[in-house]
């Protein structure tokens, strides 16, 4: 559940804060959200990654469709002769990696600073 919550919150963060700040501020934001929501390490990685990756793919496709601009294809041609859709995929992977590692770092940071509970009865 926390993983799903993190994914949704990261999507909202990227979509609404993204136009205002550079990508590295988003990475910090994903890390903080991940530390606050505290899914598992894998959940943090996947939640941050999917949230940011899907958002970036979604925005790229939205811009491509609403503008019908030839620019994605022209850029693809410029960068090794790939198509605009391939660039969308690359953007998705990039967003996934940035969000994923930010999410993982957030979870691990929270775990690192959280003291281990000492008053738990563990039996004898």
């Amino acid at each position: 559940m926390r993983f799903i919550l993190l994914t949704i919150v990261v999507v909202l963060l990227v979509v609404f804060l993204g136009p205002l700040v550079p990508y590295w501020v988003l990475m910090i934001g994903v890390g903080i959200l991940s530390a606050l929501i505290l899914p598992t390490g894998f959940g943090g990685f996947m939640g941050g990654g999917l949230g940011m990756g899907f958002s970036w793919i979604g925005i790229s496709i939205y811009l491509g469709l609403t503008t019908a601009s030839p620019l994605p294809d022209k850029m693809g041609e410029l960068f090794g002769g790939v198509s605009g859709m391939t660039l969308v995929g690359i953007v998705g992977v990039l967003g996934f990696l940035l969000g994923g590692f930010s999410g993982l770092s957030g979870v691990l940071f929270r775990k690192m600073i959280t003291p281990r509970a000492k008053n738990i009865y563990r039996g004898s």
Partner: protein
């Protein structure tokens, strides 16, 4: 353990963030480029999708309205000139910022800052030509002589800079994102530099080649192959013009000793072949409606973003519309409510070279007559992307900069050459255009031109009151016959320019009897003009075709003028091909390919339409014939010129057995016939190869007209293989990389009717739908309506913005 896990994850995250934010060799930082909120995806938005009703622009005295028509042409309505040009700067930067900055960086020799060491040699050459030096002098001239114009140029710069200050990463032009740099502040200096850049683009010289030709051929043969006036001279100013002034006398030195050793240095880059233009105006007595009609189509390299940017600029006092140069104020070729004007290049060997004799290795002084004159050093610091700056010391003499010396292309020679041209003198071209934009009549036009120095232009004019005129305006040095054709000895004071032709004695004409004025880069005058006129690049065909047509046309309409601008008639072929077919005789008769090609050539009407195959055959055959004729000249190591096509055809026609056709190392005596046949053999070989590899040899497919992005490596931002006709030497001079960069036709009736088009689009953004949307219309010879608009006109409005 928890610490190690976090540390590792954090390290990977940070490393990832850093790696994608820095450039790696030629690859730009990936994240800022691909981030859909700030990267190139944001450049997919067209201008109408980003339209704002209101934008903040400081320092205005009143709000300015900008109305964009459906072609994204802005119509700026301001209360006064300072507001107008501030808004022009802002609006131009909105649509063309990268281009205007890139062009001025090229003019300043600063391309290495953007692309790295590969441009160092180009930057050194640019700086050694002294374009920035010329712009500095231009700025000094404005400060000392014309603070009013300077204030307007600074208002324009302020407008550009306010846009740069407001620029968000998302709105940054995509070229900055790819090349990974940011725009720097604009300045009055940069606007002046842009006009110097135009001089560099349009002015050439062949002093080096002529110096070599003179040494190799001797004076007599040189004059035979390169006569200074052609047999069919149809000059810009009608030959019947009587020169009603007393010319200033020019003293011819008693003896002229030219530096005479053949030179093997590389010549300066020359204007691209095909760079030229047409303009003309017809008087009301020749038009159907009785109104003067003016037409202009400057031919330049075809680039994207387009060189031109269309605008209407309106104050309560005037309203002008036409083509602007992004970075310069006002309209360069256009019209207002009262007059229309246009420009073509009026080259006249404006660059001269002087051999400098330094006193010693220290180069602190150089010989001039009996004295040693001190030199000045200018240290050019060329910043290079990813490397330490390069310091280039350029020596300046009173002639100008020493372009070639021991540190630059001096590997073979111990000689030094200084470049003298009018670009290195303070001038005020900007004022010409500011005044022309407001001109109401012939007197205003003339007075505006008095401020114009370089590059020299043929300014055509027509007014609502019925006048038509042409004036060749530039700052032309007084030269004795032959001066400046060859490299000169800078130590001899007699080689100096002896002053300048007064503006009032520059060739001009008003309302000539023939009812039209025209120019197409041909000889400016006939030999009766009392000053020395020389250039190697004068046109011999477009001018005659235009004048022939204008002479025979009556009841002329705007549509007729549009058709003439798009005229594909190959006058050269009409004069040369019958001769060539005659000389070919029965050579290769009976071979199927030869029969096929000759049939196509024989049936040709000399129109170079895009689907025409004979034009392709002719262009190859003639080029190969000329190659065969001038093969000896082309075999020398030293840079030389071959006679132009016109002179070649004259020789072939009038003296086919002349010794110029003989190839020295053969036992037989070759004639023109031999070369025509050799050219035909080469045509067969070339066509065999072409048909095997490409198939279709229709003209458009053969010449492959393309409009190239200013960064040639950005191929996908260019438009290639455009289906259009025309070619070099034709009125529609559309070749593979050059052609009509702007076409305009204006009828000056009660209501001014105007039409215009250029091969590009109003947007400089390759992702915008307005980037290249004019190209298909331009290729088909169609035009956009360019009538003046009023502020309250509501039809055809794309969007409207208020600057306040």
């Amino acid at each position: 353990m928890k610490f190690i896990s976090f540390f590792l994850a954090f390290l990977i995250t940070a490393a990832l963030a850093i790696v994608i934010s820095i450039p790696i060799k030629q690859i730009p930082p990936l994240a800022p480029l691909l981030d859909p909120h700030h990267g190139f995806w944001q450049n997919t938005l067209s201008e109408d999708q980003l339209a704002k009703e209101e934008i903040s622009l400081k320092n205005l005295s009143a709000p300015v309205e900008v109305v964009y028509d459906e072609n994204l042409i802005p119509h700026i309505f301001a209360e006064n000139e300072e507001d107008l040009y501030r808004a022009q700067g802002y609006v131009t930067a909105q649509h063309r910022l990268w281009q205007m900055e890139f062009q001025t960086m090229a003019a300043a020799g600063r391309i290495s800052e953007i692309v790295g060491p590969m441009a160092l040699d180009l930057d050194r050459m640019t700086r050694r030509k002294g374009l920035a030096f010329g712009a500095e002098l231009g700025l000094k001239f404005l400060r000392e002589n014309d603070p009013k114009t300077l204030a307007l140029v600074e208002a324009y710069a302020d407008g550009v800079n306010q846009y740069i200050d407001q620029l968000t990463p998302a709105r940054l032009p995509v070229e900055y994102k790819i090349l990974n740099y940011r725009p720097e502040p604009w300045s009055a200096f940069k606007s002046l530099l842009l006009l110097k850049y135009m001089s560099d683009m349009l002015v050439g010289d062949r002093d080096l080649e002529f110096t070599n030709l003179r040494a190799i051929l001797g004076e007599s043969k040189l004059n035979k192959l390169f006569p200074e006036f052609p047999k069919d001279n149809d000059p810009v100013i009608e030959a019947s013009r009587v020169w009603d002034f007393s010319p200033i006398s020019v003293t011819l030195p008693d003896s002229i000793a030219y530096p005479n050793e053949p030179l093997i240095t590389a010549p300066l880059p020359q204007p691209v072949e095909g760079t030229g233009s047409n303009n003309w105006a017809v008087a009301g007595k020749k038009t159907k409606n009785g109104n003067p009609i003016l037409a202009n189509d400057p031919h330049l390299s075809l680039n994207l973003p387009s060189l031109w940017y269309s605008m209407q600029l309106t104050t309560p006092e005037h309203s002008v519309k036409g083509a602007t140069l992004p970075g310069a104020l006002g309209v360069i070729s256009g019209f207002n409510e009262n007059i229309a004007w246009g420009v073509t290049n009026a080259t006249k060997d404006a660059r001269d070279w002087y051999k400098i004799s330094f006193q010693d290795e220290g180069r602190k002084a150089y010989k001039f007559g009996d004295e040693w004159r001190p030199t000045q050093e200018r240290i050019e610091e060329i910043k290079i992307k990813g490397e330490k700056p390069f310091l280039d010391t350029v020596i300046y003499t009173h002639y100008g900069p020493v372009v070639y010396d021991r540190s630059f292309r001096g590997d073979r020679q111990d000689v030094n050459f200084a470049l003298k041209w009018t670009v290195h003198e303070g001038s005020n071209e900007q004022r010409t255009f500011l005044e022309m934009n407001k001109a109401k009549n012939y007197a205003d036009y003339n007075s505006a031109l008095d401020h114009y120095s370089a590059p020299a232009q043929n300014f055509v004019f027509a007014s609502k009151s019925g006048d038509i005129a042409m004036r060749i305006q530039g700052k032309f040095p007084l030269k004795w016959k032959g001066q400046g054709k060859f490299f000169m000895d800078g130590a001899n004071p007699k080689m100096e320019w002896q002053g300048y032709i007064p503006n009032s004695q520059n060739p001009s004409t008003l309302n000539p009897e023939r009812g039209f004025v025209s120019s197409a880069n041909q000889h400016p005058v006939d030999p009766s003009y009392p000053y020395y006129v020389f250039d190697n690049s004068y046109e011999h065909y477009r001018n005659r075709r235009i004048n022939n047509r204008l002479r025979e046309m009556e009841q002329i309409t705007v549509e007729d003028m549009k058709s003439l601008q798009f005229d594909d008639y190959n006058l050269q072929a009409s004069e040369a091909l019958p001769l060539m077919i005659n000389y070919l005789g029965v050579h290769k008769a009976g071979t199927p390919e030869a029969e096929k090609y000759l049939k196509e050539l024989g049936e040709w009407n000399y129109m170079a339409a895009p689907n025409q195959k004979a034009q392709t055959l002719y262009s190859i055959w003639f080029a190969e014939t000329a190659e065969s004729i001038w093969q000896e000249l082309r075999s020398y190591e030293a840079p030389l010129l071959s006679p132009n096509s016109y002179q070649t055809i004259q020789l072939m026609s009038n003296s086919p057995k002349d010794s110029v056709f003989d190839i020295r190392n053969t036992p037989t005596l070759e004639t023109a016939e031999y070369h025509v046949r050799a050219g035909f053999d080469s045509l067969l070989v070339a066509m065999k190869k072409w048909e095997e590899t490409e198939g279709d040899y229709s003209w458009a497919n053969y010449k492959k007209t393309s409009i190239q992005h200013l960064v040639p490596n950005f191929k996908s931002f260019s438009v290639s293989n455009i289906y259009t006709g025309g070619g070099s030497g034709m009125v529609n001079a559309t070749g593979s990389r050059h052609g009509a960069s702007w076409r305009m036709v204006v009828e000056l009736g009660e209501e001014v009717q105007a039409f215009g088009i250029y091969p590009g689009g109003q947007s400089g953004n390759p992702g915008s739908k307005f980037y290249a949307n004019f190209i298909s219309k331009w290729a088909n010879g169609e035009y956009l309506n360019f009538n003046l608009r009023t502020q309250d006109q509501s039809e055809g409005v794309l969007f409207q913005t208020r600057l306040k």
